[in-house]
Subunit: 404 residues, 2 copies
Amino acid sequence: MNFDILKTVVKRNETSKIVLLVMDGLGGLPEPAAGSKTSLEAARTPNLDALAARSLCGLHQPVAPGITPGSGPAHLGLFGYDPLTYQVGRGVLSALGIDFDLQPGDVAARGNFATVDGTGRVKDRRAGRILTEKGAELCALLREQVTLSGAQFFIQPVKEYRFLFVLRGDGLHAKINETDPLEVGERPLKAKAQSPAAEETAALVRSFVEQTAAVLADREPANMVLLRGFSQLPRWPSMQEVFGLKAVAIAMYPMYRGVAKLVGMEALPASQSVGEEFERLAQCWAEYDFFFVHIKRTDSAGEDGDFDRKVAVIEEVDTFVPRILELKPDVLVVTGDHSTPARMRSHSWHPVPVLLWSDVCRPDRVTQFGERACLARGLGVRFPVSDLMPLALAHAGRLEKFGA
Amino acid sequence: MNFDILKTVVKRNETSKIVLLVMDGLGGLPEPAAGSKTSLEAARTPNLDALAARSLCGLHQPVAPGITPGSGPAHLGLFGYDPLTYQVGRGVLSALGIDFDLQPGDVAARGNFATVDGTGRVKDRRAGRILTEKGAELCALLREQVTLSGAQFFIQPVKEYRFLFVLRGDGLHAKINETDPLEVGERPLKAKAQSPAAEETAALVRSFVEQTAAVLADREPANMVLLRGFSQLPRWPSMQEVFGLKAVAIAMYPMYRGVAKLVGMEALPASQSVGEEFERLAQCWAEYDFFFVHIKRTDSAGEDGDFDRKVAVIEEVDTFVPRILELKPDVLVVTGDHSTPARMRSHSWHPVPVLLWSDVCRPDRVTQFGERACLARGLGVRFPVSDLMPLALAHAGRLEKFGA
């Protein structure tokens, strides 16, 4: 969806309210042991089914055909931002994922602790997958022993061998090549500026890497660092600017609050349970126009290959649907950001069921919320996910007529 | 599908295998005499029907809504190359169609023998559709009597009044206007360079046309030649580069091997029967990742208006489906490049049935492989054909996650 046309039709004084309920990794594959049903098809979801019967349903295609999205692109699409146009660097995504307070102008990179041999060639890009505690200890060591002049730096553990590296200062620039050679047997690459404006930043990175190599020299397997995805916070139009919506994110995990903040949403503090998320929703109802509620555990269950747990999470979420409807939203969209079939134990490219309810929607013939049921859809099959936001806005009475 | 995103996600070391089985002109129209069924619907296809029940089905739209594709664009779309972006000149297609060994740098044009009157105006653009033997005789005559300095030339009969004209030499350029005025009563146009780089080539073409006119002067009805579609072999990224696939084409006709070679496929020598094509497939199974198997006779039957023969060809192909599955492909796509309804005796714009089977596909509700059955599809109706390749790659486990 091109934002230009929206500018001419978005109403700026509407007070209608839209809820986007995202069950992460909602879509699945049929499980022979479950009567060839998917988790969503197998789940008892009386509330979602009743809602589907009054809704417009379909299957959205996140990103592009065959493309398995990461959490960043998948959510940007749901927020109406074409993920191929609005791309975020790995460094920024790492920062969002650990709730690091990245500032405009900061340069962030994703780091790996790695192993190099006596000749300086990479033996293991992941340093034998050292434990998270070990990674944290090494970050603390580098924080103490490395000094940079001209900029502040931050080094934060992420998980196992992964960490976040951030430079903060004036005039920093992210156009720097990755130092990770991506292949074992190669030497780490020197950080070089890919534009004149990035020369100073590249020098800072080189200084960091050299000092780090010295500090870690006798710390095999973690005797080197590799840096990827140098990036800065993007300057994108906010949901307020594009859609005229004051938007809020309610999510347990930092990554989702972080991606929401990239498009100008406010993010409530982390919730501890699904129930608490819906309490938060009720509490802040008067203050916002758009409510992004994120349920993480559907995806976690899928990634663990736990079909039944995914069913259970979906059934739990189903019980909260009446609570949402009691708030009297003008539009309620229920969907996932991508599929995470338990059988694959990973994100996948498969289209994702979606329902859009509103008092002015034209219901289709779908009477159950499920992958195959949604084939009898009014929204489409494999339709671009970024179509959802303008459709939600329209159903919320937030778009003017285009042309006379 | 934009190739840029694929670059970031295509796995280069995967060994999974994809088969694309194309029945040329597969789609049809209902025939009243056959109980209002299409050839595909009327054909007894137990193997394809069983496969459809375990597959993702749909109808693809070759090229664009309402557009009837030629063989070139139709196949490029199937290979994942948007046929509106990747266009091939008529001259090059003519060369591919007769297995002419066109070299990079050669300039090829499609030629017509034509009739001009005493004042030099075109009376018949096709020289009364002279017989193929006559066309061949005239080509031989021109080969003998025309001499060009500065470049080699080739003139090869194609069919009836049509021939292929090729210039070979250094620094040739194809930006030359067509000499065919396209209207009876007009004079043939002078070949002129449309860019300075093409001046020399245009001069060669003019010299060829002038000498030819002299040689043919008393040979009415074939007393002139008209040239169209000056073009050179395109330099496109190969399927290896774009998709990471070592690809092979198995086809009876030169045109299909030729188009396959344009995207970097290897082409096996011409097969003589459908059975031989599937033998070849089994023989070369270990050597490639992607197998394009082309069945020509569905299209020929459609073009001859022979509904029953088209049914018979489809039924023959159906018997080979188990042979393909025995090879254990990771993905099997069965479709056509376009429709060729027997009732129309020609290619048409109608969407084409397609099934995509894989162990990780999410089957839809289609239980029969046919035009109307595929409406209950998971792939979509009138979806862009170039979506197929990325979907096949995804199902073959050949694409990384996009973004974090």
